[in-house]
């Protein structure tokens, strides 16, 4: 070995045999998956025949197991794209209602006024207690309960506005209201967890500077609560994107509804389900990327160094690999 740390020694990293085996198995399964995704099936009873030297040779006709050609044909059709647009609109609007109302309910929930906190609690209790699909139906058939919606002064005949429920509450609006109100119940719990997570000392410090309760909430508590609120909210957005497909039950032609409409006519069930699924997964991916950057923004001050973006990580990895090939790295010195 060395003396006085003059000489250098080669560092031999530990070999992880278990990891190698696991990787090999994983690669095998991946190969199987890719193979089956892009395999072909014989079409029953159909053959392509040719005459070769006077002999008829027949081979069964094949098609993609996952009908990729049909998927490709329907991927950008106007019905699907229109459905996608409705899905996106519904997701954004329902989440907006959910987030705004959810925050309000969370703030009400932590209020010192017992009546207000009880109202907030009851809201969450009610909307979390019934299935969202049932709620969608209830809003769609709301006109049975209230044929006319009017705003007036209770116990008098004074009405300010009124309109017929059936014509006003379209399938889109019913779905939007149902999903939004339901989401608010879940968002309020997420927001409340965020508000509670902020140390009480922060509030005390803000108050002792002379801030009002509202200023304290807005400038001190909420920005810090965001770090806790954002990740599950991103989850909720992604979940909402897919929950909107329930609106097809009341006849709204969103992405899934559009796919259903098409395969209802031509019986290409699987290809159209794949089309819808691919679109959902594509939008989810885009949303996940957005969520990463949002989380990074609100982690300000909480972490000593913010997490690397994928691009930064790639650059670091590439630089690390390149450095191994450049001039031989000075080997580690052993200090005795």
């Amino acid at each position: 070995m060395t003396e006085n740390g003059d000489a250098t020694v080669k560092v031999v990293p530990v070999r992880h045999v278990g990891q190698w085996i696991a990787s090999a198995v994983a690669i095998l399964f991946l190969a199987m998956l890719v193979h089956t995704l892009f395999s072909r099936l014989p079409v029953p009873g159909q053959f392509s025949c040719r005459l070769v030297n006077g002999v008829r040779k027949c081979r069964p006709l094949t098609e993609w197991r996952f009908s990729w050609d049909i998927v490709g044909r329907y991927f950008f059709t106007s019905e699907i794209l229109h459905g996608l647009l409705i899905t996106l609109k519904l997701t954004v609007l329902a989440m907006l209602i959910g987030i705004v109302l959810g925050l309000l309910i969370a703030v009400m929930r932590v209020s010192t006024n017992r009546l207000i906190s009880t109202i907030a609690w009851s809201y969450t209790w009610f909307f979390r207690g019934t299935p969202v699909l049932v709620q969608i139906y209830v809003w769609y058939f709301f006109s049975i309960l209230y044929p006319v919606l009017s705003l007036g002064i209770p116990f008098t005949n004074v009405t300010l506005v009124h309109f017929a429920t059936k014509t006003t509450l379209t399938a889109f609006l019913a779905a939007m209201v149902a999903l939004g109100l339901n989401e608010a119940a879940y968002m309020s719990e997420i927001a409340r967890a965020g508000l509670i997570s902020v140390d009480e000392g922060q509030t005390e410090a803000a108050i002792s500077l002379g801030m009002t309760r509202r200023q304290t909430l807005r400038f001190v508590v909420l920005p810090q609560a965001m770090r806790v609120i954002i990740p599950p909210t991103g989850n909720e957005v992604i979940s909402m994107l897919k929950t909107t497909s329930l609106a097809s039950a009341i006849g709204l032609i969103e992405l899934f509804g559009a796919a259903q409409n098409i395969y209802g006519n031509n019986y290409l069930i699987m290809p159209l389900l794949i089309v819808a699924s691919l679109w959902y997964i594509l939008v989810t991916t885009v949303l996940s990327i957005g969520q990463f950057y949002l989380e990074r923004h609100f982690a300000k001050g909480a972490l000593r160094s913010p997490p690397l973006t994928p691009i930064q990580r790639l650059r670091r990895d590439v630089a690390g690999i390149l450095s191994k090939f450049r001039t031989p790295r000075p080997a580690r010195e052993v200090v005795s």
């Binding site: 000392g201 108050i207 500077l209 801030m211 400038f219």
Partner: protein, 254 residues
């Protein structure tokens, strides 16, 4: 004779049936440093928090700068002040906490400007200039863009002092400002507080630093079990304690 900055007479305060303060009298003159000492649970912090109305005292009379804290006396009745008035009162009293309580999501500079901008309505540029000069005063130039999690506890506490000073308070309250610090960081915070005392700031300091109390304070109060057991000139009180309770307390902390 000017009126005292803080005058407390017979302050009582209980939490859920436990009486934390049982009739406390205290007078703090302008420009003086007053130290509150005593075992934990004796009510020191509670008294401090009553003074800037973070806690409501139950009975007794508490005056800051000649005004009743949280109430207004008019025509023989006490009217509870509204939130806005209480906030205005608080903005003139600086408070420094044991756990610093810097706003974690804001930089050092933003921590010092936020109160000026949002509460006092100072324009952001003016607030920044003031914040920089205060940072220089507490010896932290160059730390403007750091977040609280990136600086040491002693530095955080000095930022907290600068944050309170930015409001130009007439009174500064310190709630065990060095108790959460590593021993080698205590000195830098006490130095800043000593400078502040020399500049004529009225200060009430809850502390276990007896040397600081002896050197800087003009009066000292020993609280035990929610009452003031002994008070007076710190040199006399600390070197010749009369009550048995203070004698045993000092034998433990000194």
């Amino acid at each position: 004779m000017s009126t005292p900055m803080v005058e407390a007479r017979g302050i009582h305060k209980s939490y859920a049936g436990v009486e934390v303060l049982r009739g406390v009298d205290l007078t703090v003159m302008r420009g003086e440093v007053t130290c509150l000492i005593g075992p934990s649970g004796s009510g020191k912090s509670t008294l401090l928090r009553c003074i800037n109305h973070l806690e409501k005292h139950d009975t007794g009379e508490l005056l800051v700068d000649g005004n009743l804290v949280g109430y207004e006396a008019r025509g023989g009745k006490l009217y509870e002040r509204n939130d806005k008035q209480i906030c205005a009162e608080r903005s003139q009293i600086g408070m420094v906490f044991q756990r610093f309580n810097l706003f974690q999501h804001l930089t050092v500079l933003e921590n010092i400007t936020i109160g000026q901008v949002k509460v006092k309505g100072v324009d952001p540029d003016g607030a920044k200039v003031k914040a920089r000069s205060l940072l220089a005063r507490v010896g932290l130039e160059g730390k403007e863009r750091h977040y609280p999690s990136q600086i040491s506890g002693g530095q955080q506490q000095r930022v907290a002092i600068a944050r309170a000073l930015a409001m130009e308070p007439k009174l500064m309250l310190f709630d065990e400002p060095t108790s959460a610090l590593d021993p080698e960081l205590v000195g830098e915070v006490l130095d800043v507080m000593r400078d502040l005392a020399e500049s004529g700031m009225t200060m009430i300091v809850v502390t276990h630093e007896m040397n600081f109390a002896r050197e800087v304070a003009s009066s000292i109060y020993f609280l035990d079990g929610g009452v003031i057991e002994e008070s007076g000139n710190p040199r006399e009180v600390l070197s010749a304690p009369k009550s048995v309770r203070l004698q045993s307390f000092l034998s433990k902390v000194l």
